[in-house]
Amino acid sequence: MKTGDVVSCTIGGKTVEAVYITERDERAVLKLSSGYNIGVPFSEVLHVRDGEERKGVEPPVVQDSKLPELAIISTGGTIASRVDYRTGAVTSRSTADEIISAIPRLATIGRFRTSQPFSILSENMKPSMWIELARCIYDQIQAGAHGVIVTHGTDTMAYSASAVSFMLDTPVPVIFVGSQRSADRPSSDNVMNALCSAAVASANLGEVAICMHGTVNDDYCAVHRATRVRKMHTSRRDAFQSIGAEPVATVTYPDLEVSLHADAIGREAQKLALRDTMEEKCALISYYPGMDPAILDSYTSYRGLVIAGTGLGHVGTALMERIRELVCNGTTIVMTTQCLHGRVCDRVYDTGRDLLRAGVIEGEDMLPETALVKLMWVLGQTENPEEIRQLMQENLKGEIVRRSVYGL
């Protein structure tokens, strides 16, 4: 039996005709004419006839040549999707035509071309893919894209955006966008996020950012600087939050008005450049009370290690010896804080001072994940320890805010 075949099945002495959908846990999943799916033992299913091949009819998509050209790069995030009636699985829609037919209003904002370097679940993303993605964005900008939209699964979107931010100097907006609630549901945040991202991709912005719901309402999207944003909720639409900084822009919905923050980097402020080497042998670990110092032994071959320490940036003194050894053997260690909010300061308590003496670099107010991505990039640019230290403590792409302003 294959998906779509017409079958019959007897339930409670009555025979019903149904469509075979799939196998699930040793049961045949059938769709009844009422639309309900039921799972029944295969022994009760009789094949009646083969199913007819069905194809969804795609309405033709017309793009307005007078509108600015925007590139949509999809990586597997479901900004537009369709339920496959044969399997019940949600499939992602990624060609320009598919996306525009799912979100027709996009065609009033720009004319689109698309590329799909890979299609994965965002938890399967790897630094080598960040590089591939950065190159793909670079190519699109070089080919004349007025703005770039990257659709991405939300789990690791902030890492990818941050990585692209370090690798690429962009003169145009590079906007990462995703959806928290699946695109197949009538209430999905995908349409509003996609339209807002297209609006900001056409705006006077010249940096890498993430555009997602600003609140749980469908009222506006917040545009977050790639290096200061974090997914702060597992499921809410407004999961993405700028930490220690304000969003660089907001886009109202449904009127799609973009308001840029005074600190936003304008279009053409940077010249297009790509520095796409990254050192993958880096790690991020979170310290916890009683952590076995032997854990650090696994990192002896690592070139970089970011620690999310407690409070101002501490680890237990039991770890101090191993940290000293790691630094001596050439591992760059950067201290950040699991508080997420606030700045690391290892000069207040003895433990902190010991860490500094051991050669640990204070990660200022960088988010732990951003510090990891930055360390990979910095180690990809230089091997000079002094230069590494200097780059890690210097603000390159908005990842370090030099002053901790009250109210953020």
């Binding site: 409670g12 049961r27 309900y36 009538p186």
Partner: protein, 610 residues
């Protein structure tokens, strides 16, 4: 009406809320709230999406004619699941257990692997844009020969507060949907089956009680008519009326079709902008929505648009319902004009502009240009259907039993799998382990047998919302006759007087009955005490407000006085004086001491004097 000759077939869908501790797909309590208690509000758009069949469902598409922005009230008893900001929990096992119990009571066959589906509903009543629903069992039997096609377990929708605002407290309460085959042929039969299934449901003792917790949808068609689903029939007694009125409507629509065909009636394609004709109109309706007024001429429809098709409904009402989907208030037609502030001159000008002859009917709608254009096309669509007969529709019941158009009957395309909820296996062991509850008919028989209650009253008790209270009262040692009289007759009489005793807790009722049982409170005082309780008074206060109880010695003193004053009358009339004197005494003590005691004391007192 001869329903057999008309070929009436009807089926019902019964929706019953289950009384579980938690909702179906989240862990919130299943309690309803007052909207003043809300602690948040969220605002969302809903849009139709392509389903697994690759088409947008026609019912959903219809709703999309108005792009709507919805508001939802949240409470401290609702969570992110209701907000559609968190994936659902696994299906509530308590709700599934109750559903399987009902399935077993109806001799149904369970589905071996139950799949939760998403049923597209984009009228705003579900934050997700779909209702989660699962088919649990199929093919059973009710009341001897009515076939039960299916039982589904689904989540209740959010309650509409106003047009675009919904309250999330109700969203997600488990609901069973029982669908019968179209096996009923008279209005009374539909009611009987509904009543029987209702009894089965309540026999589980696990369903919610009270207004709005059970709703019937009735599917009705006659020969040459069409299947029409009437939603939201809350009272059983209205079912026969709803069925007979729908038959009447379908018969009328078929007669209209014949008449229109014989007249050679036609429905035009386009609409006509007649805004200028009404530039100085006195009609409040037209003035209010003035930006654009569109008209169309229905050839050969004169007198038919205004014809009644069921009480209070005309063909024009049907067309108006369709037009309202575009956001206009309704439509006017020349069968009813001049009226509503539209003058004879305006009607004449309209007819002239619309090139309408005497046999034609002109319809007009007002709104923004977009609304008016959409509305007139919708009205024309419905007018065209009149030439075909009866359209297949989902309709909503109106208060008296007539109905209004809601949307086309939905097709199968509105369902697709809820991928966030894993399927649930139903095993033979699970079914075998279910103990069937005692049916309410059996409960009634037991009350007659064991408590000596008259069978009619026993049935009343068993079917009443106060059955659990009654059982608690009996267990507490209260006399069955007292408990039955109070919980059935007295409460019903009070409710007829407009006193709502629904909020009085069982414990309070039982406490009151115990005091009556012990003689502390007179049984005559019960109605007045219940009134005070219904007004919110605590029990002690309610008892005091009726007046302190009269002790027997107080009574003897009072009666001695009254009898002494009337000594001569009593000597003349002997025992026949009992009645008149009783009346005088009761005036003083009514509600404060048992009438039987008064009669006894008085009788003794009179006997002493004769």
């Amino acid at each position: 009406m001869d329903y057999k000759a008309l070929g009436l077939t009807a089926g019902i869908e019964i929706h019953q809320q289950l009384d579980t501790a938690e909702k179906l797909y989240c862990r919130c309590p299943t309690i309803l709230r007052n909207i003043d208690e809300r602690n948040g509000e969220i605002r969302r758009y809903l849009r139709a999406t392509v389903s697994e069949m690759g088409v947008i469902d026609r019912a959903a598409e219809e709703e999309m004619k108005q792009m709507r922005f919805f508001s939802y009230y949240a409470y401290n008893t609702t969570c992110l699941v209701e907000n559609d900001d968190e994936p659902p929990t696994p299906m509530n096992p308590e709700a599934l257990q109750i559903t399987l119990t009902i399935a077993k009571m109806l001799s149904m066959t369970p589905i071996s692997q139950v799949h939760t589906m998403r049923k597209m509903v984009i009228d705003g009543s579900n934050t997700t844009g779909f209702q989660r629903t699962a088919l649990v069992a199929m093919n059973g039997i009710a009341g001897g020969n009515c076939i039960i096609e299916s039982i589904c377990l689904e989540e209740e929708a959010a309650q509409r507060v106003t047009d675009k605002t919904f309250s999330l407290d109700r969203l997600g309460i488990p609901l069973v949907e029982i669908t019968t085959a179209p096996c009923m042929h008279t209005p009374e039969e539909v009611k009987e089956i509904a009543e029987y299934i209702g009894m089965i449901l309540r026999s589980t003792r696990k369903v919610k009680r009270g207004l709005g917790t059970i709703r019937q949808d009735v599917n009705i068609s006659i020969r040459d008519g069409a299947r029409v689903e009437i939603k939201g029939v809350q009272e059983l007694d209205l079912i026969p009326e709803v069925v007979s009125r729908e038959v009447e409507r379908q018969v009328s629509l078929l007669a209209i079709r014949e008449e229109l065909r014989s007249r050679g009636a036609e429905v035009p394609q386009g609409e006509l902008d007649v805004t200028d004709l009404f530039s100085s109109t006195k009609s409040k309706v037209l003035k209010k929505k003035a930006p654009c007024i569109m008209a169309a001429t229905l050839k050969g429809f004169a007198g038919i648009v205004g014809r009644e098709i069921q009480p209070g409904r005309r063909l024009g009402s049907e067309m108006s319902d369709y037009a309202k989907k575009c956001g206009v208030g309704g439509l006017f037609h020349t069968d009813e004009l001049p009226a509503y502030g539209v003058t004879e001159e305006e009607v004449a000008a309209l007819r002239e502009r619309a090139l309408a002859g005497d046999g034609d009917c002109v319809i007009i709608v007002s709104g923004t240009e977009q609304q008016a254009t959409c509305a007139i096309r919708q009205a024309l669509k419905r007018a065209g259907m009149a030439l075909e007969g009866v359209p297949e529709e989902t309709r909503k019941m109106l208060p008296e039993g007539s109905s209004a158009y809601m949307r086309p009957l939905p097709g199968a395309a509105r369902m697709y799998p809820e991928t966030d909820v894993l399927p649930v296996e139903i095993t033979e062991e699970m079914m075998a382990a279910i103990d069937l509850p005692e049916l309410l008919v059996e409960v009634a028989a037991r009350f007659t047998r064991e408590l000596g209650i008259d069978s009619a009253l026993a049935r009343h008790i068993a079917y009443s919302d106060r059955l659990p209270t009654f059982e608690k009262a009996i267990a507490a040692g209260i006399k069955p006759s007292l408990a039955a009289r109070t919980l059935i007759s007295t409460l019903r009489e009070l409710s007829r007087d407009g006193v709502d005793c629904g909020g009085i807790p069982d414990e309070t009722l039982i406490d009151l009955l115990l005091r009556v049982n012990s003689g502390e409170v007179a049984k005559e005082a019960i109605p007045d005490i219940l009134r005070a309780l219904a007004g919110g008074a605590p029990l002690e206060e309610a008892i005091q407000s009726v007046g302190p109880t009269f002790s027997v010695s107080d009574l003897e003193t009072l009666i001695e006085g009254i009898v002494a004053e009337r000594a001569e009358f009593i000597r003349d009339r002997k025992m026949a004086s009992l009645g008149p004197v009783m009346g005088i005494v009761m005036k003083e003590v009514r509600g404060r001491i048992d009438g039987q005691i008064v009669a006894d004391v008085l009788k003794r007192s009179i006997e002493k004097r004769i």
